[in-house]
Symmetry: C2
Subunit: 519 residues, 2 copies
């Protein structure tokens, strides 16, 4: 058994059964080994940014890492932005990066680079295997390091891959589950909540599931505390039956204003909230400096267990949580806009769908209506690097082949990783992509105003860099060019009909929704 086969077998022994890949010459023995280890499903992507985003979406839905296979430093570089997003969203990921044979590095061939240097800023753990006898053990360590919330990156030199591994594959390694919070922290939270101070409980992190919301609302009812959810948790349960809890606003000014009177902040998975960007005259921190902070559970802790412990300690478990009743918006009519798209999506999205949200400004309008739609889970952009949505939808669909995936995308963000459409078609994934074609980097136009530059009014050069409507892009043509059924909608009626159709069938579809900018 060569190094590559022992590596692959170690991964599949440990439940890592999907590899999102775009290989090159240095990975050919890994590719060859795929035929010896049929338990590994290989999903080919045409660009590495697609596959790393897919690995993120997969991990969020599968609750375990996928592996990636990348071609040396530049392949890792192409994957970097979506690895960044995964890292910020606490997604586990096991990256395998092919490298030149160990003895070939000194020759400085064209693809030679400092791969560990590139991997470091986006990985929790980085290691280069230097012998085929070690590679299986190193792969097992990568799986252990990735656990359920970290990025592990393992370099696989070509000769380590092709040489014999006399030690064979590794067996199952123990992966740490999210740790329970100590009872003292729960007691501290009880004291804080019973102090009479104005308290905000902020939920967030890897997952804000249905139980999290129910528990938090029970605690709120028992103590009078407010509960909010951070702006962009990695995964959030929404719709019918979920607790009626708002999310903190994206805009720092609004968010600051909405919690300016709190005296205590209890964090459950969420980070102490901050403005996404700095603006002249706007504070970076969202919560008042005077508010006392306490962390009930960090993003890698067992947040549901912590909330359960807290609700039990408060005697609140019997309280009925206040939840969203199903409330579908009426079907819209007339000229299409982002809100009408949101109404149609909320109306027709089936129960248990996965909504991948990279709709940016237009996405906000969808979120206004989906809170009372049928129960679903929503994945959000955690790292701020656009070009995540289409790949994440691909990964979510690979993880959950029996669930409908709806991906809402800005036109600007879609173009970063538009190649994802091809893999959606190739894998016959059940994804409906909705592109908001407003022909602008609309959020940047808004942000330009917020930064105060030139009194908030872009001059002609600046305006030109925010305008992606010259030439107009035709997403229907692009999608069809990659094998995805696609249609355009300019009216609410047309969009509704297309979306309803898409919900009733299986397989990849794209709807190009021509809408005016929200702002």
């Amino acid at each position: 058994m060569n190094g590559a086969e022992s590596l692959l077998t170690t991964l599949t022994n440990n439940g890592i059964e999907v590899c999102f890949t775009n290989p090159g010459t240095s990975e050919m023995h890994f590719v060859a080994a795929l035929d010896e280890v049929p338990e590994m499903r290989c999903v080919l992507c045409l660009f590495e940014g697609v596959l790393s985003g897919a690995a993120d979406g997969y991990a969020r839905m599968a609750g375990k890492p996928a592996s990636t296979l990348l071609h040396l430093g530049p392949g890792l570089g192409n994957a970097l932005a979506n690895i960044h997003n995964a890292k910020k969203g606490f997604s586990p990921m096991v990256n395998i990066v092919g490298d030149h044979a160990t003895y070939h590095l000194e020759y400085d061939a064209p693809l030679t680079s400092d791969i560990e240097g590139i991997a470091g800023p986006v990985s929790h753990w980085v290691h280069t295997s230097t012998s085929s006898g070690d590679i299986a053990r190193d792969a097992a360590e990568a799986v252990r390091q990735a656990g359920v919330s970290r990025v592990a990156t393992l370099m696989l030199p070509a000769d380590v891959s092709w040489s014999d591994n006399p030690n064979g594959p590794e067996a199952v390694v123990e992966v740490a589950t999210p740790p329970s919070v100590p009872v003292e922290r729960i007691e501290e939270a009880v004291t804080a909540l019973q102090s009479g101070a104005n308290t905000l409980i902020l939920l967030g992190g890897r997952e804000v599931g249905m139980p999290h919301g129910h528990l938090a609302d029970r605690i709120a009812q028992a103590t009078g505390a407010r509960v909010l959810i951070e702006v962009l948790p990695a995964k959030i349960a929404r719709g019918e039956g979920t607790a009626n809890i708002d999310r903190l606003a994206y805009l720092a000014e609004l968010a600051i204003d909405s919690i300016r009177d709190i005296e205590q902040l209890i964090l459950v998975g969420a980070a102490d909230p901050v403005s996404f960007f700095a603006y002249p005259g706007v504070p970076s921190a969202i919560a008042p400096a005077t508010a006392r902070r306490m962390v009930l559970a960090g993003p890698r802790d067992d947040t549901e267990g912590a909330l359960t412990g807290l609700a039990e300690a408060l005697g609140a478990m019997a309280t009925e949580p206040r939840v969203h009743a199903l409330n579908l918006p009426d079907l819209p009519a007339g000229e299409l806009d982002a809100a009408k798209v949101g109404m149609a999506i909320a109306h027709h999205m089936p129960e248990n769908a996965i909504l991948v949200d990279e709709g940016i400004t237009c996405g906000m309008m969808v979120n206004m209506f989906t809170g009372t739609a049928r129960y679903h889970e929503q994945l959000s952009q955690t790292g701020g690097s656009i070009g995540w949505g289409l790949p994440a939808a691909l990964g979510a669909a690979v993880a959950c082949p029996d669930r409908k995936v709806v991906c809402i995308e800005g036109d600007g963000s879609a173009m970063y990783t538009i190649q994802a459409l091809w893999s959606m078609a190739r894998e016959n994934t059940d994804i409906t992509v909705v592109i908001f074609s407003n022909r602008k980097y609309s959020i940047l136009e808004m942000e330009y105003g917020r930064t105060g530059a030139r009194d908030g009014v872009p001059g002609p050069s600046a305006a030109s860099t925010l305008n992606i409507g010259s030439p107009d892009m035709d997403f229907v043509a692009m999608a069809r060019g990659m094998g995805v059924q696609a249609d355009r909608a300019t009216t609410a009626e047309a969009f509704t009909m297309l979306f309803e159709q898409a919900m009733a069938q299986r397989g990849p579809r794209l709807i190009d929704a021509i809408v005016p900018p929200v702002f």
Copy 2:
């Protein structure tokens, strides 16, 4: 004048008049400053890998750097692969990477990352400006560091951008030109060449222009030395009037065999040749270990000056170089293949065209015919990271608006940075893109065989990862979707007609050439 304006003015004062960009919120003051500094031309790209490849293509043709504007660590990550290619090709580049305001970094907002860490592996010089009073001086230093062959990366925190710079912009800085080689080296080369040893002169590096070839051939005639050009120099003059000099083969086995009897190797701009990848049983070094190496000129030296000095010392300047006469292939007929595409391109490509070659396996067939075409310059893939061709063509066209750019692209490599087509349309560049649609990562199929994996025959899983024909991609649809006129050719006659048309008109065009794999 704020920091951003002083930065931009410093760049334009120093002849950097193009900025390839994809900005975000942290760069809004830079974007605003574009309206104050109209000397800077801003070229918007929909993905950062496009803009870094464009900056590379621009630099190769303009002989000076463009600037890029990138959005924090992930934006730099997206640009990384083509910065790698630029660095390996000795292209100068001045990257401006926006960052959070200095005081905002401690809050660890979603887009916070170790930008210097990401920049390091692909930059010769990395610096973070920390005060608006320093930014113009830092920008001037970036220009100086980039010079004519290096990558300089300067981080621009948002508050450094928006705050007042009391010192104003910097004036012109002195940029070092490629240094002349010391006369001792020329004397050493004369001695080596007159020793009677079997000698190879290998040309390469930033540029192998018409004069380089003429000079090298004069030297060859005077001394009996052989001359070759390295596999993929950054820029090479080809066609009518250029010296009749072969390039070293890409395949290590062939290259090794072709120079196995040399006793001396004189490097002029080229590196000591090595195999692109390691293969079991194949040496990494191409030249025999016994051959004596000498460097007449490094890739950053004045290679033309060095060859002139050597030719003069040998009394060879009066010798008539042996050059290619114009020899256009006949127009091909019948079912299309890569060789016929090459014949049609060689037949119709106008004088002084720029041929950007990322045709990979099919590109080899074009190169067989273009050596005796009309005089042109060819840009090659220097770093091995595919997804460079379309962006480089964009940059070359921006640098040379009066020259026809022909870009030959593999279908697999085209898909890495397909968004480049949109910028080609937006800027109304005079580029004709030829896509070789063979629906395979054809070179990987060949490489699979060379690595010896599974006796060179891919099993079904491996074969699937090398096959990009499921689903087939329609480049005509994709190109039209991005505003580029596009057509498909399945016969030699159709291709010839389309290509002749494209050569006769201005503006972006794409021809999807349906061809069988070369191997």
